[in-house]
């Protein structure tokens, strides 16, 4: 029988007061269980306060005597007279029929115990599992894994709001490592800090199934990685939307060139071609901005590319990336060495082409056979923030609004969820909340959560590194979890892996060997 931690003594439905048993130390966020005739009710602590039989004045007096006069005055029956009270919120009721939202209260004076693994036997592993972490009761990690259905979660978008150092990247890494072990979705990571592949430390490249990681980088690709090159003929004017602020005349000129020259439109802009109906000045600005963002020079001997936008190579890069995603691989695009606008342009290009491809699949009836594709966006406010959207819609806001109809989702990572418009937050089906220090940020999340988190302010503020609360359209209650450290998760996966490589490498058949 589980230890009794306290007893319910007063309160109302969403603020039940519990008296903590002596020598027990309850925590904010801890999960407790009251066994009732109707079933088990699971509660979560959202506040702790002191209670005492003595009046406040007397307490202050006793304290003053102890502090100021070194008095050895002690309270009689200290455990009876002074105690800790906990404010509880009911989460769910588990009865013979299953689990449901709790709409009742336990009997007055019900005793409350610690959560046991058996209490959560209803949590099963879905068909397309996305492992997020183990259930957490306060700061205690229970070894009960939490899985959500990845198809639902990824297609309905995920938000990971957290301040610096709370484990956002670690969470994203754990999600990807799990997808490598049990592929359920194609994941594209736009990586502005080159932290996921693991060039100089442990990362995705160390997973036993690393062949399902496709890494694109423009700076010294390690062996097996692909050089990030995108042919300029792959670009269209719509890819620049939300990346560069064009004037109306410039916008018209862009589309004019595209309509006339099709895939060679950029080449003609850079070649200083005249275009009737547009002023020289407009065309000159167009050329200058293109040169800057594409890092291409126009010389007498032709175009010379200096960056990742190429005039010769990279024609199949977009198709290769989409094919890899459709094979449920993880594609990491290292944007750490690219200008801010260049990074936005690549993101826009990839997001647009992925969405268009999946829109096509829906139109042709093939969508059901395709896996969900999720795009992990670091610093999501750059494209989903109020300021960014004030300059016009971009592909990511379009995906946020419509992507789920086409199995294309976002995983938006940000420190500033308050900067994301409410209508976008409302469209995000799952929020995995890590520690947020600033009150406006917590408020933004609480107000857009799938469950009632009105009492969670203190809970969220006290989340330590690796601790999170999962609020989702696909969970019955806001689940507190502990996210594993990706290094130990990786180690575990490496230890578990039993691989047998196809032995042709041992014979190098076909080569003339001594």
């Amino acid at each position: 029988m589980s230890e009794i931690l306290g007893q319910i003594i007063s309160g109302s439905f969403d603020k039940i007061t519990l008296r903590q048993k002596a020598n027990v130390f309850l925590e904010i966020g801890e999960l407790l269980v009251a066994d009732t005739d109707r079933g088990k009710i699971i509660f979560q602590i959202y506040d702790l306060l002191y209670g005492s039989q003595l009046s406040q004045q007397n307490l202050e007096l006793v304290s003053g005597l102890q502090l100021e006069e070194n008095s050895n005055l002690e309270l009689m029956d200290p455990e009876l007279r002074s105690y800790v009270l906990a404010s509880l919120k009911p989460l769910i009721l588990i009865d013979q029929f299953g689990i449901k939202l709790c709409k009742t209260m336990p009997k007055f004076f019900s005793q409350v115990r610690a959560l046991q693994p058996d209490d959560l036997a209803f949590l099963t592993k879905p068909k397309h599992p996305l492992f997020l972490g183990n259930i957490r009761s306060g700061s205690k990690e229970l070894h009960i894994p939490i899985y959500l259905n990845s198809q639902e979660v990824f297609s309905h978008h995920v938000l990971i709001p957290a301040q610096t150092g709370r484990g956002k990247s670690n969470l994203a890494m754990c999600m990807m490592l799990n997808n490598l072990s049990e592929p359920t979705a194609g994941i594209l990571v736009l990586d502005p800090h080159d932290e996921y592949y693991g060039r100089n430390r442990a990362g995705l490249k160390d997973h036993p199934f690393k062949e399902n990681v496709v890494y694109y980088t423009s700076k010294k690709p390690p062996v097996g990685a692909r050089t990030l090159k995108i042919n300029i003929t792959m670009l269209q004017p719509m890819h620049f939307q939300g990346v560069i602020n064009w004037s109306e005349a410039q916008q018209e000129a862009l589309y004019g060139f595209y309509r006339r020259y099709n895939k060679d439109w950029i080449e003609h802009i850079l070649a200083d071609d005249e275009f009737e109906g547009f002023q020289e000045g407009t065309l000159a600005v167009l050329k200058r901005r293109m040169i800057s963002i594409l890092d291409i020079d126009s010389t007498s001997s032709g175009l010379i590319s200096h960056g990742l936008f190429d005039v010769h190579a990279g024609e199949s890069t977009i198709n290769d990336i989409i094919s890899a995603l459709e094979e449920k691989k993880i594609v990491v695009v290292d944007t750490s060495n690219i200008s801010a606008n260049g990074e936005l342009l690549i993101g826009s290009l990839l997001g647009t082409e992925i969405l268009h491809k999946y829109q096509y699949y829906k139109a042709t009836g093939e969508l059901a056979k395709k896996p969900v594709v999720s795009i992990i966006l670091e610093e999501a406010v750059r494209v989903l923030g109020v300021d960014a959207l004030a300059q016009g819609i971009n592909i990511f806001s379009t995906i946020a609004r419509e992507g789920r109809k086409f199995k294309v989702g976002l995983v938006a990572i940000t420190q500033l969820p308050s900067m994301i418009p409410r209508e976008i937050l409302a469209n995000i089906g799952t929020k995995i909340i890590l520690g947020l220090e600033m009150a406006p940020e917590r408020r933004a999340i609480i107000e857009s959560a799938a469950q009632d988190l009105s009492e969670y302010d203190k809970n969220i503020a006290s989340l330590d590194k690796g601790e999170a609360i999962v609020t989702s359209n696909f969970t019955k209650f806001a689940i507190p979890i502990k996210i594993p450290d990706y290094n130990s998760l990786l180690q575990e996966m490496q230890n578990k892996a039993i691989r047998e490589k196809y032995a042709s490498t041992e014979s190098f058949a076909g080569m003339k060997l001594k």
Partner: protein, 407 residues
């Protein structure tokens, strides 16, 4: 120094005798041109032949030309391509090498489980040549991952790396489905990268590497390539001690004329009348004529179109070869079957990938299954050799298959 770089000759690939002859003539013409240019040596980056055991006609012509080169002391360096692989290692390339008609540059040894390539040094010029084979389905990726690179990258002098793989970063957009390897798998610091397998003409000076060149096929290998490329070609490369100058030389034996016949909402006789009246005005002047029929007929079926009459008309107007393509043509009551590729390799690769992992087998993940499937296709595609009895042929196939499955 001066050398010729060609690839993907695919001698013996066409079924049509005239196309087969053109294919062989492309090879002959290229060799003659190389000799007239007084090249120091020739590189053939894989798929000289379409199979490991080619037919008589093509083999005879190739041997004659290689003998001429040998007599003029012009070495020919070859590597095995994806079409020339045999699990036993016995291929016609070995025979040619043993006869002194060519030199296989894909040589090496295994050192601590890794593959160490050895340079072949051209006696006349001192050029150092290292080679790597190609396999179907991109299986050579595993070999690349085990390749020792330090010895290759640190070697001095003019170095040539011959390889038979598509490079991911260089694939044209219409070949994006093709198996490929990222350039990061290749050793760095070579003067010239003599590519093969990619049927597209491409050259690029790649930072940290050198000049990477794909000459494309020596002769178009499919209807799609005939339409897209028109002809094949090769590269003549000059190196004056400081700079490399690579020039593409097309090998155009005849023109290619392609006609798209839209049969949508037409009866077979309406469609044929339309094309016949169009073709009657043409003078093909020994061109290869391609007739692409597409669409959905209003009535009747594709077989109701009098193809023989249309083809005969083309020959009467001077066509050298006439090919018809009706894959995208359907009758009013037939369902359209969507194609997943235009060449045999593309279709094969797509289908294998699509069905990988459907049956769970112990010790086989989808990637291993894909590699094994391609290897089995290669083996089961082998043809009976001349003089080989049925039972010997059957035994050979069974042994080679067993070798693959025993791995």
């Amino acid at each position: 120094m001066k050398f010729a770089h060609m690839s993907d000759c695919h001698v013996g690939s066409w079924r049509d005798p005239k196309m087969r002859e053109l294919n062989i003539r492309a090879f002959s013409t290229t060799i003659d041109k190389s000799m007239s240019e007084k090249v120091d040596f020739i590189l053939i980056s894989g798929d000289l032949f379409n199979t490991a055991f080619p037919g008589y006609e093509g083999l005879k012509e190739v041997v004659l030309k290689l003998k001429k080169l040998h007599d003029r002391d012009i070495p020919v360096y070859i590597i095995q391509g994806s079409h020339e692989y045999s699990p036993t290692g016995k291929t016609i390339l070995d025979v040619l090498e043993n006869a002194g008609l060519c030199i296989n540059a894909a040589k090496g040894e295994i050192v601590d489980g890794k593959l160490k390539l050895n340079f072949t040094i051209d006696k006349k010029t001192g050029a150092k040549i290292a080679g790597f084979i190609g396999r179907k389905g991109g299986i050579e990726k595993n070999y690349f991952e085990q390749l020792m690179k330090e010895n290759l990258e640190s070697e001095d002098g003019f170095k040539i790396f011959m390889f038979h793989s598509a490079i991911t970063e260089y694939k044209p957009s219409d070949m994006s489905e093709m198996d490929s390897q990222p350039i990061s798998l290749l050793p760095k610091n070579f003067s010239y990268y003599a590519g093969g397998h990619l049927h597209a003409v491409f050259e690029n000076m790649e930072q940290d590497y050198g000049l990477v060149v794909y000459p494309g096929p020596l002769f178009p290998n499919s209807v799609k390539e005939l339409e897209k490329l028109g002809c094949g070609g090769f590269y003549l490369v000059n190196y004056d001690g400081a700079k490399i100058n690579a020039n593409y030389i097309p090998v155009e034996l005849c023109k290619v004329r392609s006609f798209k016949i839209d049969c949508n909402n037409k009866t077979p006789s309406e469609a044929s009348e339309e094309i016949i009246s169009h073709l009657s005005a043409e003078d093909f002047n020994n061109a290869i004529v391609i007739l692409r029929f597409f669409g959905t007929l209003k009535s009747g079926s594709p077989v109701d179109i009098p193809y023989n009459d249309i083809i005969k008309l083309c020959y009467e107007h001077g066509a050298l070869v006439v090919m018809k393509h009706t894959l995208n043509l359907s009758g009013a009551e037939l369902e359209q079957i969507s194609t997943i590729g235009q060449t045999l390799e593309e279709i094969e690769s797509s289908v294998v990938k699509e069905h990988a992992g459907q049956i769970s087998m112990t010790g086989y993940d989808p990637e291993k299954e894909i590699r094994l499937t391609h290897a089995l296709i290669e083996t089961l595609n082998l043809e009976k050799e001349e003089g080989e009895t049925n039972s010997e042929f059957e035994k050979r196939i069974l042994n080679e298959t067993k070798m693959l499955l025993d791995y």
